[in-house]
């Protein structure tokens, strides 16, 4: 009976932990999205387009900066999803968070640069196979990569009690 009570209180604590994590996540994502939308978005989009330029020239194609910026606008939200996850995570030191955020942002910038490059290559080659690969990469970058980087770059197992309990 006392074991059941204990299990119940552990589950209750885990539910609170998850609830507050998501409240922090929503809060952080709204703040970061506002910063992206009104301040950082345009320079970031131009930065990714500039990074794509030399890679595209390797394929022998020119870049159209306005088009590159338009494409990047549609795909460049993943750093803010990732940063929101990092910001919402508790029980991890700021040094570890900053290190993880830095590495993650570099990886996401490279992934976004690759996507922009592939969009142009697919367009120039007018190839269905290239478009398929590009879409696959884009979907993975947007919906899974931020979560994967958060799991890998931050000690998530020690940040959540239910992960700790699973691995105890």
């Amino acid at each position: 009976m006392s074991e059941n009570t204990n299990e119940g209180s552990v589950r209750g604590a885990a539910a609170h932990e998850v609830l507050f994590f998501f409240l922090r996540l929503i809060g952080a994502s709204i703040v970061l999205y506002l910063i992206y939308y009104f301040l950082v978005g345009k320079p970031y989009v131009q930065f990714i387009a500039l990074l794509a330029k030399p890679i595209l020239s390797v394929f022998g194609y020119p870049i159209i900066m306005t088009e590159a910026a338009r494409i990047t606008e549609d795909i460049a939200l993943n750093p803010f999803v990732f940063l929101s996850l990092v910001a919402a995570t508790l029980h991890v030191s700021w040094r570890v968070k900053l290190r993880g955020a830095g590495i993650g942002l570099v990886i996401l910038a490279l992934a976004n640069t690759l996507t922009v490059t592939l969009v142009f290559v697919s367009n120039y080659r007018n190839s269905e196979a290239w478009w398929t690969g590009t879409e696959l990469l884009n979907l993975t970058n947007n919906f899974f990569l931020p979560i994967l980087l958060w799991l890998v770059l931050l000690p998530i197992r020690s940040a959540f009690s239910f992960f700790r309990d699973r691995n105890a």
């Binding site: 589950r11 999205y33 899974f144 979560i147 309990d165």
Partner: protein, 188 residues
């Protein structure tokens, strides 16, 4: 002989760490296999994707009609007759929640859990993602109808940021509430 020393302290931690790394690597491999196969399946079945696009368009139209909005529907396109002129909303495959659902299913499929637990995850997650997507689509339709200048702002946040957060919420709730840790040494 035959008396093996039990791993203790740091050694135990190291063993647990490497077991976790193996489990995580296996999860990633399985995730990408399921995700790639499912994605290519949608490419091989364009009729299914078109069907989901039309289903979502019809559902959005149903709710907008219920709310008393003035629009016309032509294929996957909704044209709103607003005070500031006509506004067009075209539903594409990304608007259906199909790919988010596949990624969610790939995570559930790859995570080490019992079949029953995975089925519960599917039974809860798929309708929940579909319902959230419908709410999102109706909401951005209303934004397009009333405040066209805010459309890009809400579309960006709700499409990507909102969806990742919701999917992660479903996964974490499933992991913490449904999936029970396997007894020590038992294969899953």
């Amino acid at each position: 002989m035959g008396q093996r020393k039990k791993p203790e302290g740091g050694e135990k931690k190291k063993l647990r760490g490497s077991a976790f790394q193996r489990e995580f690597l296996l999860f990633l491999i399985l995730f990408f296999i399921i995700w790639l196969l499912s994605y290519f399946l949608t490419r091989r079945l364009p009729g299914f994707v078109d069907w989901t696009i039309m289903a979502v368009t019809r559902e959005v139209a149903y709710f907008l009609e219920l709310l008393g909005y003035n629009f016309t529907m032509s294929g996957p396109s909704l044209t709103f007759h607003t005070a500031h002129g006509g506004e067009n909303l075209v539903v594409v495959s990304e608007c259906t929640g199909l790919y988010t659902t596949i990624i969610y299913l790939s995570i559930i499929g790859a995570y080490p859990a019992r079949i029953g637990e995975k089925l519960i995850g599917v039974a809860i997650g798929v309708p929940a993602i579909h319902a959230l997507n419908l709410v999102r689509m109706v909401f951005i339709s209303l934004v397009l109808y009333h405040r066209r200048e805010l459309f890009d702002f809400f579309h960006g946040y709700l499409w990507q940021v909102g969806f990742v957060i919701f999917m992660l919420l479903l996964v974490i709730v499933w992991m913490s509430k449904i999936v029970k840790p396997a007894p020590a040494g038992a294969p899953q």
